[in-house]
């Protein structure tokens, strides 16, 4: 039993993740369409609900091209490295108190280490393609990843200070014990991590390696079909990973809002929050059933109704677990809240993508090294000081952390003001 459950979880994750990635793409396209005053995919399935499956089939059936002068071994290996490392990181991600493959006591470091290895997929793939666009994209991507990893890591440490543990599980439990999500103690750390994670996953406005008009598609230029979809999967898996890290460290992981009140005031109305997930999903189900008859084609009606039924089943499970033992309740609802937070975080990614223009490479590097990393360091020091004060003098951490935030904000203002050099190209100085 000690081994069966983790293996089961692993199988579930590997099986579900491609599907999930596909539906995140659909979500992306729908959100983009909504922000741009259009409809997005509407043809395949009702409201494009089957679009990801059609896309997947298309990708798998495409011809697999290996450039003639490519390094065949590495060309073959690189996407696998990318996707393996992305999937490996899920081993330590707690998607709920019960749903975690392994609770390592170096959990966070493990995830960071493994996902930092994904860079090899990019660099080797870019090199193996034997194309200038690929190589340049790969080098840019790698430089960007290395730079922003530093900033993101420093942002994470500010939350680690509060948790006092590297185990993902303990971090969440620490937030439960302290009665507050860490985002409220270290909002700036969260901000830094967010920017860093967007850059790490090569998303807009930091998507230079992929979308910069002169680099075509960056390191993926020469890839097609299945290999390309592996890269794609890795990218979206990485997005979920960074969202999962942010959720665990800053947003309370699987905890529902006001989780700690549960202990303080048993039986109070705040318990109603437990019913919220099932009601929400029930609402979605009702909406699906409302839309089903309006679909133009019979099969679309059927699919819509099936989706509604699925939502109904999920709502049932969520509601049913309310009456089961506390462990089951926590497990099921924990997974729900975790996924809800992950998707909220991912939504921000999409939001940024469709709002901001793209940085230029030198601006990107300047933002990373001259703004984010100094800010992260200052944030770390102020937070550590706040923690020390509250420990030594017995002040409330809430007060000292606010002081720390104010100081850090002042420094941020100062940094931002100093950064306001005009964007003219800096005078050439070395590489």
């Amino acid at each position: 039993m000690r081994l069966v459950l983790p293996v089961l979880y692993a199988v579930v994750i590997v099986a579900v993740l491609p599907l999930l990635a596909g539906y995140i793409v659909l979500m992306e396209r729908k959100v983009m369409a909504d922000m741009q005053a259009r409809l997005g995919p509407m043809r395949v399935g009702p409201h494009g609900l089957l679009q990801p499956i059609a896309d997947a089939v298309k990708l798998l059936l495409k011809e697999d091209i290996i450039p003639e002068k490519a390094d065949r071994l590495l060309f073959w290996l690189a996407p696998l490295v990318s996707v393996t490392m992305a999937l490996l990181a899920y081993a330590a991600l707690p998607i709920g108190p019960a749903f975690q493959i392994a609770d390592l006591n170096i959990g966070l470091l493990f995830i960071l280490a493994v996902s930092s290895l994904g860079i090899y997929g990019i660099v080797l793939g870019g090199w193996a393609s034997n194309s200038h666009y690929s190589l340049l994209g790969a080098l840019r991507s790698a430089a960007q990843l290395v730079s922003y990893e530093t900033a993101a890591g420093l942002g994470l440490i500010s939350a680690l200070l509060l948790a006092g543990s590297l185990s993902m599980r303990d971090i969440v439990i620490a937030q439960y014990d302290q009665g507050m999500w860490f985002i409220f103690y270290v909002p700036i750390g969260f901000f830094i991590y967010m920017v860093g994670s967007i850059a790490e996953t090569n998303r807009a406005p930091f998507d230079l390696p992929e979308a910069e008009s002169e680099l075509v598609a960056g390191y993926m230029t020469e890839y097609s079909g299945f290999r390309w979809s592996l890269y794609f999967l890795a990218e979206y898996a990485n997005m979920i990973i960074v969202a999962g890290i942010a959720t665990t460290l800053f947003l309370g992981g699987w905890l529902r809002p006001f989780a700690s009140f549960h202990d303080h005031l048993p039986g109070t109305p705040i318990e109603l929050l437990d019913a919220l997930p099932s009601l929400l999903v029930l609402g979605v189900a009702a909406y699906c059933f409302f839309l089903a008859p309006k679909q133009p084609v019979k099969i679309q009606k059927l699919v819509m109704a099936l989706v509604g039924g699925l939502c109904l089943a999920i709502a049932g499970i969520l509601a049913g677990s309310l009456f089961a033992s506390p462990a089951v309740l926590q497990g099921v609802h924990g997974a729900f809240w975790f996924m809800a937070k992950v998707f909220a975080y991912l939504y921000c990614f999409l939001w940024f993508r469709f709002t901001f223009p793209r940085y230029r490479f030198d601006q990107l590097m300047r933002l990373g090294w001259r703004f984010l990393i100094p800010l992260a360091l200052v944030n770390l020091i102020t937070m550590a000081t706040a923690l020390l004060i509250s420990r030594e003098w017995g002040w409330s951490l809430r007060i000292t952390s606010i002081l720390a935030i104010v100081v850090t904000l002042a420094v941020a203002m100062w940094l931002a003001k100093n950064d306001q050099v005009d964007s003219a190209v800096p005078v050439a100085e070395g590489e």
Partner: protein
């Protein structure tokens, strides 16, 4: 350097390459060169050391065609030059021929022409804004811009049946009377449009990344701009207050009040600001004109067969992209002896090298976008 005849034996390829220098060809098939412009860049790392625009991929011999068509027959051809501002092209041509004939369109026709041309200016700037923002990586403005441009194109369609290459005007005036509800349509659009511009500006004007990508990029000084013959918003962004609508009023522009927006630095951001302000001014002109469209005929009495007296004429208008001039020589027959077009895009493109030298590759995309070229007009 923008001479179409020197394609391969160009200054860029013949100069000796330094140790870390490479030649990069952007285009003619490239998402951000707006059609079939080919830019040959000499790069030191990512920095542009030298550049050259190679054009002519869309050359159709428009000027030559003119010599074998009657004056009226040639009118639709001019729409195909700057195909995103066809109405303005038509206006310039019609007025040039009218000048040659010594005729003038009736006032009503001139007012309607003004309204349509200003709408066309807005449409052209909208297209520029959308694609320029897209080049710099902002994905969303292009859809908003096309939404509003659609409204303008609908007005064109209702008026003359065509959306893109409209052939809206005839020599001597207008072919069609305005349709019922024309004023209301334009007014509704103008009333709505002011909020829409605000919407674009909230997305871009104050946006740190947008400012970072455009400010200080592709600077063109006023002296350089004048020396290169640059016109239109590019010139005005460099601080030269020159607008043919004020300097040599044509159509009905002398009747309306409007400002000529200018900026000082002449960088990409300034050109953006100038064009945004121009859209607002165009909207104001439309509103003023729509208030009071005089009654009367829409066509001057010029006869069916045009035989201008021998002579030559140069007439230019302020097209969305700059000074659009027509030089027409008549030998007294029904066909022009020679038509020469002064396209703003072609002349403005000459400033590219000046702007791009010393910038990064990523800026080249922004600079091509900011000049606002249409290759149909550059190559003719």
């Amino acid at each position: 350097m923008s001479d179409p005849r020197t394609t391969e034996l160009s200054n860029v390829s013949t100069t000796v390459l330094g140790a870390d220098e490479i030649i990069l060809n952007m285009g003619p098939q490239h998402p951000s060169t707006h059609g079939v412009l080919r830019v040959k860049l000499k790069l030191d790392g990512e920095r542009v050391v030298d550049s050259e625009c190679i054009i002519g991929y869309l050359h159709r011999g428009v000027e030559k065609i003119a010599e074998h068509r009657s004056y009226q027959q040639f009118a639709p051809y001019v729409d195909r030059m700057d195909y995103v501002a066809a109405v303005s092209n038509g206006l310039g041509y019609c007025e040039a021929v009218e000048k040659l004939l010594g005729a003038e369109a009736p006032l009503r026709a001139r007012v309607v022409r003004t309204i349509l041309t200003e709408l066309q200016r807005i449409a052209s700037h909208l297209l520029w804004l959308g694609t320029h923002a897209l080049d710099i990586g902002a994905l969303t403005p292009v859809f908003y811009c096309f939404r509003e441009r659609e409204e303008i194109l609908k007005i064109f369609e209702k008026y003359c049946g065509a959306r893109l290459t409209t052939h809206a005007f005839r020599i001597g005036g207008l072919q069609y009377e305005t349709y019922d509800g024309f004023e209301q349509d334009v007014k509704r659009f103008c009333d709505d449009f002011t909020h829409r511009i605000d919407e674009y500006e909230t997305l871009l004007t104050e946006n740190r990344i947008w400012v970072g990508r455009t400010k200080g990029v592709g600077i063109l000084s006023a002296a350089d701009a004048i020396a290169l013959g640059v016109t239109g918003p590019v010139l005005r962004a460099s601080g030269v207050k020159w607008d043919l609508r004020k300097a040599m009023p044509y159509a009905a522009y002398d009747q309306y009040k409007f400002e000529i927006p200018t900026r000082e630095t002449g960088d990409t951001y300034d050109r953006y600001v100038v064009r945004m302000e121009e859209m607002r001014q165009s909207r104001l002109i439309c509103l003023q004109a729509i208030e009071n469209i005089p009654a009367g005929p829409i066509m001057a009495r010029i006869g069916k067969v045009l035989k201008p007296p021998p002579g030559e004429v140069y007439h230019s208008i302020e097209a969305p992209k700059g000074e659009l001039g027509y030089y027409i020589v008549s030998d007294g027959t029904t066909q022009p002896y020679r038509v020469r077009v002064r396209p703003p895009s072609f002349i403005n493109l000459q400033a590219f090298d000046k702007m791009a030298r010393g910038s990064l590759v990523a800026d080249v995309v922004a600079i091509i976008g900011t000049i606002d070229i249409v290759l149909g007009e550059v190559d003719r």
